[in-house]
Structure formats: structure tokens, C-alpha cells
Symmetry: C2
Subunit: 293 residues, 2 copies
Amino acid sequence: MATGRTHRPATRSRGIPEATVARLPLYLRALTALSERSVPTVSSEELAAAAGVNSAKLRKDFSYLGSYGTRGVGYDVEYLVYQISRELGLTQDWPVVIVGIGNLGAALANYGGFASRGFRVAALIDADPDLTGRVVAGIPVQHSDDLEKIVEENGVSIGVITTPAGVAQEVCDRLVNAGVTSILNFAPTVLSVPDGVDVRKVDLSIELQILAFHEQRKAGELAADAPLPETPADAIPATTRQQIPAEAAAQDAARARRGAGSAGGTGSAKGAAKTKDPADQGPDGDVPAVMPA
Amino acid sequence: MATGRTHRPATRSRGIPEATVARLPLYLRALTALSERSVPTVSSEELAAAAGVNSAKLRKDFSYLGSYGTRGVGYDVEYLVYQISRELGLTQDWPVVIVGIGNLGAALANYGGFASRGFRVAALIDADPDLTGRVVAGIPVQHSDDLEKIVEENGVSIGVITTPAGVAQEVCDRLVNAGVTSILNFAPTVLSVPDGVDVRKVDLSIELQILAFHEQRKAGELAADAPLPETPADAIPATTRQQIPAEAAAQDAARARRGAGSAGGTGSAKGAAKTKDPADQGPDGDVPAVMPA
DNA sequence: TAGATTGTTAATCGATTAACAATC
DNA sequence: TAGATTGTTAATCGATTAACAATC
């Protein structure tokens, strides 16, 4: 996953493991679906299947919350929905601001999932004066000059950053100074924040790269093993070779030819990764977009 | 991280742990930035700081790839960029299709991060005939009737699903049948796929819920501990009580009053989570949006 | 050589899972 | 009661981290 918290030691908040916390929303979604179908009770086995996890894990997760099930029967759906909502803090209202109303910011503003779970989009903020006053998802875009005022007046503690990477840290700093203590970052950059501030990161490009890694391996399984060594293995000193997997050894050999450890532009071979990367401009590039209100 | 792989045992592909694979794109991004600044070498300490991880972890991660550093010197930036790109499969071209050109699908189509790392948006697909032929991010939207044909003709192995949740499984099935073996799913639903197909999930609402959990705890730290027990602890059988943390015990007490384990709608107490959830319609709700081309 | 930094070890920690006693 | 299913234990597995010998 390309998602992760920055800062704050992997706190086991009130004794609930991080991994469990991350699954609670999954359970909640499955339970909500059952609730809509008026299913009164559900077993750990059924619920686990719906949530896509193993039932032992689910029971262990629930055991951190308390003993909410009934042996021989299962879990009361409505009751569990309430308990998990409560544990996640969804029984209260969370005003959020979205900063950076490009394509992605607009998509998030329109995303029904926020409003439905206690999250309320309190304001949309952008640095582009042309955007100010335009209405996205029924909410007027405000200028970033007023960021601090907006955060304070709305009691916002959660901020969503969908700006280009170049300004993300600055926006982050301003949000934090104004009182925001949780940040959901879509900009492809590492944010640094003071202690006590949580950052979660959603990185579209990283997700795809992880898929590509596995995809490449699938292809490799069929076609023996992709790119062939350019140099016979004996070109490598035996001492190194024995510790290194075959393919890496081949790469190492290539490197040896180029002179290992030499500083500066030996240049990256053949189709190597491009430099000058538009991705790092931000999740939206530069094109801001306004959705129909 | 609300991100995770479905199916496929946590395979340690060619010996590289999943956790390491997930960090490689992070290192790659930091290295690319150094490369642009023409920095020739970097130490594990510096690179780790840039990537937001601990240096021991970084060295351990790199050790799975081979011995690419030079003791006393550090790592050659260009060489490492190439090696990681290669390991991630980014030295080849990956055609992807995006299915569901609502707000989010359009945002992704416009996202520069795809094109820049070997990912090429080969086609945009939507079920809405009104959208067919319109141009988003320079690419014409094609009708989902042609999904199979498009996947096959373009040799697509990676699919991105940004449809409403209701049709995500069907779209997934069609993609997989047509030959797609990796799926990035933005629809808030659990997809089931056959063995050999990887699914990664990005769930905006889950990320926010995890932040809310921690946010709630921060508030609780100040104000003693949020909602007070509604019932004195002695109302609970001692046997249960002794195993349960104080707060859960209070909740359990409330439950006891309502009759634990009783089936059907005791209803969820006070501000409990809403049923009928528009979020589960999909990341975009129903409003499709077309970006300026 | 002396200083710097990697690559690896080993200890620690957290997460997963099967199995089953407790109990509805 | 008999059957079902939870909650918990304990074993296992994987990930993190500090420390340091190897070595440039």
C-alpha cells in the first residue's frame, strides 16, 4: 500500500492495533450493507467473507473493541454498526477543507462518501483567483488567502490536500498552523509535520507501480526470466556472486563494467526511468477543473 | 492505508517482501528529485530522510535488490534510479484503461503521473452513450460495449475502475475475462477475482475514517475521555466486566439494557451511523464530468 | 591510514492464523 | 441438550530497528 502515516509512533491507540483500525471501515461498510437489507445478525464467517478478510482476524479485531457478539448466534448488525461508528468517531461531525480544486479536488468535493459518514466539506480552497467564487459540488471556492480564517471559523481539524506537489508543504504548514491536526495528502510529496499531527497519503502513481511490479513477475513466470544477463556469470567475482540472486548478479556485472561506485552521470542504461517528471507537479497537473454545481 | 491487495497469498515475489515493494516507488521518487538536481551520490541516511523512512529500513530494502551501494560513499543516484525502475517494471510500457469517466476517472486521465512512469492511458471507457466520443485529457471516451475489444487490441493488462460500486464487480469480471490481470479499484466495494489477478484498492472514505479515529483520540486526551458511561459499571456482570476496558464496559451496559443478542432492529442509538449511503454508489456519485481536453 | 557508510545480523515487535474451550 | 459460534490462546510469520563488522 502506498498509504501510510507519517510521524507519530505506530501508536496502538487505546490498545487498538493500527492494522485493526484500518479494517474497521471495511467491516462498517459490509455491516451497513447488511443493515440496509435488514439482516438482523451475522456470523464472523459471513461478515468476514463480505469484508474480504479471514474470520479469525475479524474476531480478533472485534475482541479489541469488547465482547459484542453472542456465542452460537453471531453479531447484532445494528449494534455493531453503532459500536464501530462510535469507535471510529463517526457519530460526530467532522468539518473538512479541501485545498486545491483541480480535477481531483473537484472529484473529492463531489464524492458522496464524505457527507455520508460524518464528514462535511466545510470549504473548498484554491489559489487561483479565477476559481474563487465558482461553485463546485454546491460549495463556493474560496481563495487561499483566507485559509487560516476558514479553518478557524469552521473548527476544521481535517484537511485534504490536492494541490500540486510544489506547494503542498506550504499548504500543509498553513493548515497545521491554523489548527488542522489530520491531513489527507494526495500530492506526490512527503510532508513533514510536527508531533501530534497525522498524515495519511494517497498516491495513485505508487499504487500503479506496485501493480506493475507484480504484473512484470507474472509475465516473467511464463517467459523464463525476462531480460537475459548481458554478461556470463563468471565475469563476476565469486565472492559477490554467491550472495546475489542470479538476475541481480547479471545487473551487477553490467555495473562492474561501467566502474562501480563512480560518481556522476554514467547515465542510466537503455530504457531507464525518465527524469523531469510531470507527475511530481501534483495529482492534477496544472489544469484546474470545475464540475457542474 | 486503506490500500491492500485482495487475493494472492502475500507472495514474496522473487524474495522481495511486499512491504519493501511498496516502498520502492517512494525511494524512486526521492531519487528522481536528486537526479534532477544532478546529485551524483546519496547516503542511506540522506535518502531515507527524503523518503520519510528510517535508514536501516532503507538499507535492508535495498539489500533485497542486490548490493548497489559503495561502503564509505553511498549510492550512485542514476544507477539506483535505473535498478529500481527496472525492478518495478517501469522500463517497459504499460497500457492501462480507465473504466468510468466520472469526476474521478477524468481526474485520473489528466493525472500526469501515469504517463511519466511507463503507464500509458490506452483508452477511456464509460457506459454512458452521451459521453462516448467526447475527449478527456486528449483521449476519446469509448463505449463500454467495446471493452473486451479495446483491452485485447491494446494488450492491456492493467485496468483502473472508477465506476459506481454497483457495477464495479461486473466491470472487473469483464476486464479479467478480456485479459486484464491487475486492477486498481477506486469503487468502494470488495472485488472478487480469480487466482493470479491482483487487486489494489484506493478508498477515500476509509482514509478519512482512519484519520477521524486518531483525531477523536487526540480530543479525548484533553477532555478526559469523551462520552461518559450512561450506566454505572456495577450494572454489568462482574465476569464480563473484568475483561473489558472501562469504556467498552459502559457500552456493554447500554447493550445489556436493550437485551443483548436479540435479533432485529433495536435500532442504533443516538447519532449512530446513517444507513442508505450514497458513498457506496461510487467514488463519483452519479455525476459524470468531462474535463477540458 | 582514518573516516565514512554500507550490508547484514539478531533482537524485538506487531500481525496473522488455526485451533479450541467457553458458552449461547 | 446438541449445535453453533464466539473470544482467546499460542504458534507462526513478517516487518522493523539498532548495532556493528566489513570495506570502500
